[in-house]
């Protein structure tokens, strides 16, 4: 009799735990799909941006320009005759491209706090194997259906972490500020080619690249204003990289 009750209670316990986990994953999946649906509202935008690239071997001043985006993956920074530097197109700087498309497996990963705000963490694994994204971890503000942080592991481009801060465009899920953390490879040119002048003095604030390991870089974009869904011709994105 005792054995019967033990098996009975254990079964109920397992059933409850399994159901709870399943329910949590279902909730997480619903949350993810709702958030992804919101991202689909924006088909294109032109944004005035201020951009700062913070990579150890790159000394680039903060630049202003216009960032053109057209769904699903077209992106271009224009700087009124100046040089525009963006990570290669396969590391896209838009949230919609760092969130897996198509069918996905969504796993509930608990809760966390970002800027004194409780956020729901979910892990999303795309079901299509040819997708460059292997896994995306998303920190979602459930009340506003906004992703405040993502961490995307890609097949070819390392891990891209993104922090997003929302303000006046939160209702269309467009951020006011985005910080990307990317893996950058070593930079080195032969001294015989560049014939550097060092003057026997290291430049203050400069961190010369050393070693062969990949290191982290940071790209910060402040979105000053947006013009949303007004249509952008494809020719805008046609210029080749020089």
């Amino acid at each position: 009799m005792m054995r019967f009750f033990s098996i009975f209670f254990l079964s109920i316990l397992l059933f409850t735990v399994s159901n709870t986990a399943h329910a949590a994953d279902s909730d997480a999946a619903a949350l993810f799909y709702k958030m992804r649906e919101r991202l689909n509202y924006v088909k294109d935008y032109v944004a005035d941006v201020r951009m700062k690239i913070d990579v150890s071997f790159m000394r680039i001043p903060t630049v202003q320009g216009k960032l053109y985006y057209k769904a699903p993956d077209k992106l271009k920074l224009e700087r009124n005759g100046g040089i525009a530097i963006l990570p290669k197109k396969n590391i896209n700087l838009t949230l919609s491209n760092l969130v897996p498309a198509g069918n996905t497996t969504v796993i509930d990963a608990g809760y966390d706090i970002i800027d004194n705000q409780k956020v729901h963490i979910i892990k999303v694994v795309p079901e299509q194997e040819q997708n460059d994204i292997v896994l995306t971890k998303i920190w979602i503000d459930e009340a506003h259906l906004l992703a405040l942080r993502t961490e995307t592991t890609t097949r070819d481009n390392g891990t891209i972490k993104m922090d997003l801060r929302f303000g006046k465009y939160a209702d269309v899920a467009l951020p006011d500020k985005v910080i990307f953390y990317i893996d950058v490879k070593e930079y080195k040119l032969p001294k015989g080619v560049t014939m550097d002048y060092d003057g026997n003095e290291s430049i203050a604030g400069a961190q010369p690249a050393k070693g062969s390991k990949a290191r982290k870089g940071k790209i910060q974009i402040e979105y000053l204003s947006y013009i949303i869904n007004k249509g952008i011709p494809d020719e805008i994105f046609a210029e080749k990289a020089k």
Partner: protein, 275 residues
């Protein structure tokens, strides 16, 4: 006497060959970049292949920077062509003794000939600025400037470039003045101008190898070689600009100028002039 020295320099056809050579160097680089600049750029930007770099990268400012690299070897040769001839040329033509019969002190002769050589060097630098910067900007337009160092990628906004070029050309003038001073010194010891010209170039080539080879064995002597500091103009294209290092380099070059001209005056004053 200064005007007479300038007359001597600028009446010779070979003086103008130097200006022609600078024009040819600049045009050669500009035409090469016009037709095959993308290949060059592709090689130089391979270190930042993770990034898409769009816009007018191959602009006039970058081309001028490439042309300015010739300051290390080619322009010194042109400076030596005239400065190396200053005393030795007079000796070769047999006019040095005649010159010394005039009531002009020997140090003054050296200083005037040095001043005339410096004037000629300044003309070369100004000409280089005109054909390098002006024609490059006309052919390639303006844009933000990329400076590729061995361990850093520097971008300078286009509105922030011109003052750097003004400063760089000013520093280049100082570097070429050092070359002129060296040539004058060597010219004191020779009776024909080939020796000082070849001597100047030989010293610059050998010291440049020491300065740029990057072997640890040369590290101890590198800071004392004037060729290490002749490329101080490049410092103006860094961010932040290493003013202390540039100032030190300028001081060392000035020190070499004083040393070379002081030595030239000393040896010329003691020299037994036989031609």
């Amino acid at each position: 006497m200064f005007r007479l020295e300038l007359y001597k320099i600028f009446r010779r056809p070979r003086t103008y060959i130097s200006f022609g050579i600078i024009l040819a160097i600049a045009l050669l680089i500009q035409v090469a970049m016009l037709f095959d600049g993308q290949t060059f750029l592709g090689f130089m930007l391979q270190g930042v292949e993770q990034f898409d770099i769009q816009g007018n990268v191959l602009n006039g400012y970058l081309i001028t920077y490439i042309i300015l690299q010739t300051l290390l070897i080619h322009i010194p040769l042109l400076v030596a062509l005239v400065a190396g001839d200053a005393i030795a040329g007079e000796a070769n033509m047999g006019t040095l003794r005649l010159l010394l019969t005039k009531p002009i002190s020997r140090p003054r002769i050296i200083l005037v000939k040095f001043a005339a050589s410096v004037f000629y060097s300044l003309c070369l630098i100004i000409w280089l600025a005109i054909v390098g910067l002006t024609i490059s900007l006309m052919l390639f337009g303006k844009g933000d400037m990329i400076n590729l160092k061995s361990d850093a990628f520097v971008m300078i906004l286009k509105d922030d470039v011109m003052w750097r070029y003004t400063a760089a050309f000013g520093f280049a003038a100082l570097a070429m003045t050092t070359v002129a001073a060296l040539s004058i010194l060597l010219s004191v010891f020779a009776d024909n101008s080939i020796g000082p010209i070849m001597g100047t170039m030989g010293i610059i080539v050998v010291l440049t190898i020491f300065s740029t080879l990057g072997l640890p064995i040369f590290d101890n002597i590198k800071p004392y070689l004037f060729t290490t500091h002749m490329i101080g103009w490049k410092g103006f294209f860094d961010d932040p600009v290493p003013y202390t290092a540039i100032g030190r380099s300028a001081g060392i070059l000035a020190g070499y100028i004083v040393l070379f001209i002081g030595s030239a005056i000393y040896f010329f004053s003691k020299k037994d002039i036989q031609s």
